[in-house]
């Protein structure tokens, strides 16, 4: 900057330069962190399937006249059926829990991720250990394979081969310890694979159910890999799977009474495990280890906006710097410097600046990667791979262009004669460009705020009291075995818990809002037929959940009893949605109604309760028929006051002395269900804050620049008697166009995005004007705060000094 530039401008521009560069570096760091997430997603399961060969079978189930339901798990017996039908493929099954399960080794109790696996899984998925060893380990009914981290957690040593541990009342032997997968996969770092051949495994139970009922769907994941891609295509495998489904359905329809009512079509879809996100296209939930695709999209858009705002700030600064160097540049021009050379120098300078910021951003991102991984709950890579690096370089190039292109034009536009003699440094469009730059920043700020507010409000709605029940004091014990209706331990457990001073109520149930077994029935009342979920609960369940009936009464133990010759129907509760779908406009109308399922069993509706999640917290709340009885898998206790969890654990331990306590809190389950969105909310607000702060810097720079431009004018006006207030109003009048334009544009775009985002939730809030109103108000406050100092300084400036500088 030339020596003739007033010192306060030099100092302030230097200050802004540093802040702007820091902002650009921070934006690139954020961009790099998001790229690391995309890199994580892009390379997901690469370690388990390096050659894009492994497919997971998803099942789409459709009843006539209803929307299809897509399941991550398919027919239980699909893998053996495929192996029999197509000798050229490897097929194997997995059953796994996406939440950690309690495992005990000696005195150590730990929560680890458990997967039951067929030995054949070794031939399908690439493990970080020889396939033969994996196969051999899982071929033993009590065999288990642990990752090194799991071995360390459970046994305190990296290789615990030969040691034993307890899971669900059964003893397993560590047959193999393998390193963790080198990159993100569907499996966890602390993963335990147990053999599916053992007694009491979920896969074993499913096999027995399949033998008994002819059909068993859900829970089992089937993976296939062709032995050679030359000999077998995906289509052939799909066709074989669908043929098996048709055969199973035919067997089922032939065997079940009134089975026609449950007539449904099963279709299998093979999804590459490297592209599990495409499962969403058939309506299935992709791998839970992956980040929510919508969340990634939102995050990417937000960080691109951050980068854009930072680049616009830098562009604004660069223009200011070029205008301040007009005399220097004109002297260069007067001595023969070519325009192309001047423009080239500026573009080169901004490209280098941008690349330097990008490099610094990559380093900063590497330093922050630990924090970021923790914040989003994924092991994202610390360093960029080739494609990510190329994208960063390309983005830096684009940012360099954005920063430098107009400044380069302005620099070549100066006419030495006019600048040096008349100090005329006017450049066409300079004011418009700078006004637009500020307007865009204000727009992005207000838009981001509107969207962020909508996200927060919606998440509060979803995770708050609108769940339908209060999860805050609910403690759940997963029992090591399913207790049938007549098992005396059910009542014993309940009565012992009821006597505990810190337990307000307890229930033993087969289904919870977050997990458990959910049945499907076609319920018919009159001419209405509804595909509904069934949930097995006990008579105290709704009291424990803190729910009163909307109409009628809650369940009683005797509601499970049937009369002589089954003339008296079972009694059940209908969810409000089920009652409405069955044609009862008001809950009271459903009381006493008789409904039938596809098997012809009749149920009398004795009460209607509010809609609750069933088996899965996040998602639609299905029409549900609640019945007393069924095998109980969970013990739910509503606690009160300060208490020691161990006291209650003792009661459960007394009932199952051989098993580790498997306890979780319902609040934790709710949080886990919305974890991605809750994390997204945090990150969106962090990005929103960065955007607002960056924009505030931009507004401050604009205010400073406007104040500089208006300094002489203000001095002249004050010479003629203008008051301080006149000057403040005068400044506001000049700045109102970009600010108001930015606010309105940003709030409108933010509102459209927020309305669309809110629209994708079946349950949730509608878009209201409060979001744009608050977004505009907050942005306006930030703008006022950012420019207030310069406005006050300008209004209070002494004309004699400004005139002297002019």
């Amino acid at each position: 900057m030339r020596r003739g530039t007033p010192r306060f401008i030099r100092e302030t521009l230097t200050g802004i330069s540093l802040v702007t560069l820091a902002g650009l570096t921070a934006a690139f760091a954020g961009f790099m962190l998001v790229l690391s997430l995309l890199q994580y997603e892009r390379n997901f399961n690469r370690a388990a399937d390096p050659d894009f060969e492994v497919q997971q079978v998803f099942t789409q189930m459709q009843r006539p006249g209803q929307d299809p339901i897509a399941l991550e798990g398919g027919l239980t017996d699909l893998a053996p059926a495929l192996r029999a039908a197509l000798p050229d493929i490897h097929a194997a099954r997995l059953w796994r829990s996406n939440t950690p399960r309690t495992v005990q080794a000696g005195s150590v109790v730990a929560d680890l991720f458990i997967a039951e696996a067929d030995p054949a899984i070794a031939n399908v998925i690439r493990f970080p250990a020889p396939a033969e060893e994996i196969h051999a380990a899982l071929s033993s009914p009590d065999g288990a394979v642990l990752t090194t981290p799991a071995s360390r957690i459970l046994f305190g040593e990296p290789d615990a081969r030969g040691r034993t541990f307890l899971f669900q009342d059964r003893v397993y032997r560590v047959a193999l310890v393998m390193p963790e997968f080198p990159e993100a996969t569907s499996f966890h770092r602390d993963q335990v694979f147990i053999s599916s051949l053992g007694e009491g495994t979920n896969l074993g139970s499913a096999d027995r159910a399949a033998e008994r009922l002819s059909i068993s769907i859900g829970g089992t994941q089937t993976f296939v890999r062709a032995r050679s891609s030359d000999t077998l295509s995906i289509d052939q495998i799909s066709r074989a799977a669908n043929r098996h489904a048709e055969a199973v359905m035919a067997r089922f329809l032939a065997s079940a009474p009134n089975a026609a009512a449950a007539s449904m079509t099963l279709r299998h879809h093979l999804i590459p495990i490297r592209r599990l996100e495409s499962a969403a296209e058939i309506g299935a939930s992709p791998d839970s280890n992956r980040f929510d695709a919508g969340a990634i999209l939102v995050l990417t858009l937000v960080i691109v906006l951050v980068l854009m705002v930072a680049a616009l700030n830098a562009a604004n600064l660069k223009i200011a710097q070029i205008l301040a160097k007009a005399v220097d540049l004109s002297i260069h021009r007067a001595y023969g410097a070519a325009r192309t050379r001047i423009a080239g120098d500026i573009l080169r300078e901004t490209a280098i600046l941008s690349l330097a910021a990008a490099l610094a951003g990559v380093c900063l991102a590497a330093a922050l990667s630990g924090w970021f991984s923790g914040a989003i709950g994924r092991d994202t890579p610390r360093l960029p791979d080739g494609p990510s690096l190329l994208l960063i370089i390309a983005s830096a190039g684009c940012a360099g262009l954005v920063i430098g292109v107009y400044a380069a034009f302005a620099a070549t536009y100066f006419r030495p004669a006019r600048v040096l003699s008349a100090r005329d440094i006017s450049v066409p469009g300079a004011r418009t460009i700078r006004t637009v730059l500020v307007a865009v920043q204000v727009a992005v700020s207000s838009g981001a705020l509107v969207f962020g507010l909508a996200v927060t409000a919606q998440l509060h709605f979803l995770t708050g009291p609108n769940l339908g029940f209060d999860p805050s004091a609910l403690t759940v014990y997963r029992m090591p075995e399913a207790l049938p209706v007549d098992d005396p331990r059910r009542n014993a457990l309940r009565s012992m818990l009821a006597q505990h001073p810190h337990v307000a109520g307890a229930a033993v149930v087969g289904t919870l809002p977050s997990e458990g077994v959910v049945g499907n029935v076609t319920v018919t009342a009159g001419s209405e037929s509804v595909n509904a979920s069934t949930a097995s609960v006990d008579e105290t369940y709704f009291e424990v959940m803190g729910l009163a009936p909307l109409a009628g009464r809650l369940l009683r133990a005797t509601d499970a009893e049937r009369g002589e010759g089954q003339t008296r129907p079972s009694r059940g509760l209908a969810s409000n949605r089920l009652a409405r779908l069955l044609g009862f406009d008001r809950p009271e109308e459903a009381i006493g109604a008789l409904v039938r399922d596809q098997d012809g069993s009749a149920y009398e509706i004795v009460g209607v309760v509010g809609d609750l999640p069933v088996g899965r917290i996040r998602g639609d709340r299905p029409p549900t028929l609640y019945l007393v009885g069924g095998a109980a898998r969970f013990l739910v206790a509503r606690t009160q006051g300060d208490h020691d969890a161990d006291d209650i654990d003792q009661i459960v331990r007394a009932a199952f002395p051989q098993s580790p306590i498997d306890r979780f809190s319902m609040t934790q389950r709710v949080d886990n269900a919305y974890l991605d969105l809750i994390r997204l909310r945090g990150i969106i607000f962090l990005c929103g804050t960065i955007i607002v702060v960056t924009s505030a810097i931009g507004v401050w720079a604009m205010a400073l620049n406007r104040a500089r431009q208006m300094r002489k004018e203000v001095a002249v006006r004050k010479s003629f008697g203008a008051r301080e207030l006149d000057m403040a109003g005068f400044f506001v009048a000049r700045a109102r166009l970009p600010i108001a334009g930015g606010l309105v544009t940003g709030a409108s775009l933010g509102s459209i995005a927020a309305a669309r985002w809110l629209g994708q939730f079946a349950e949730g809030l509608a878009f209201t004007a409060i979001y744009p109103a608050v977004g505009i108000a907050v942005t306006l406050l930030v703008v006022i705060a950012a420019s207030a100092l310069e406005v006050v300084k300008l209004a209070r400036s002494r004309p004699v000094e400004a005139l002297h500088e002019a």
Binding site: F720, G721, A722, E724
Partner: protein, 224 residues
């Protein structure tokens, strides 16, 4: 008597150098006077003009201006006194680029609370007076240097001030334009305004009935 300076001193400190711009200056300006202030560069002319125009306040001494004795530096009080009492003509014109000729001329009237139509009428009248009625809707960038200075003079006259302070008003003009501007300024005194002009040009200085010569912050000669 419009303004009286009594024993005024003013100094500036920049980094390590202290500059005494005015040293014990006493001066009176009466209504209708046409005063030229001359002296070499750095002698304190501009500081004297700033003090006379109430843009600046001395470190010591006393100022009586427009019937008020100023005892302390108050920007608000100086602004209030300037309003309507003092008109300025700057060497570099200092017109506002975004305003037309009419709006530039009318600008001081806004701070007197005059309504827009009245301001416009007065501005057009002055534009005609300085020979720029055909350029009334032009912007400063569309005018020559002489025309711009005439706009500046019209602006200085707009509020019918009692004192007009002109700092090198012909510094950027050729001799023909300079003579025309000086004639215009002289004419203002006939309407009762005092005009104080700073100039380097000794020849122009001879046009005034009262000349003040300055050197090193002192008034060294005050000739009638």
């Amino acid at each position: 008597m419009l303004i009286r300076l009594d024993g005024i001193s003013k100094s500036y400190t920049s980094d390590i150098v202290r500059t005494h711009a005015l040293r014990d200056v006493s001066l009176e300006i009466g209504a209708g006077e046409f005063v030229m202030v001359t002296g070499p560069s750095g002698c304190g002319k501009s500081t004297l003009m700033n003090v006379l125009g109430l843009l600046d306040f001395p470190d010591s001494g006393r100022i009586d201006a427009f019937g008020v004795t100023l005892k302390r530096h108050s920007e608000r009080e100086l602004t209030r006194l300037r309003r309507g009492n003092v008109g300025f003509i700057f060497q570099s014109f200092n017109l506002i680029d975004d305003l037309t000729v009419t709006d530039n001329i009318a600008m001081p009237l806004a701070y007197l609370g005059m309504g827009k139509p009245a301001r416009r009428r007065r501005a057009l009248e002055l534009a005609e007076h300085v020979g720029l009625s055909a350029r009334a809707s032009h912007y400063p960038a569309q005018l020559s240097g002489g025309q711009q200075q005439r706009v500046a003079i019209a602006r200085a006259l707009a509020a019918r001030p009692k004192l007009i302070v002109a700092d090198e008003p012909t510094g950027n003009l050729d001799s023909a334009n300079s003579a025309a501007i000086m004639a215009l300024l002289r004419e203002l005194t006939t309407q009762g305004s005092a005009v104080v002009v700073v100039t380097h040009d000794r020849e122009l200085a001879t046009l005034a009935e009262r000349r003040i010569s300055m050197k090193d912050g002192h008034i060294v000669d005050a000739a009638q």
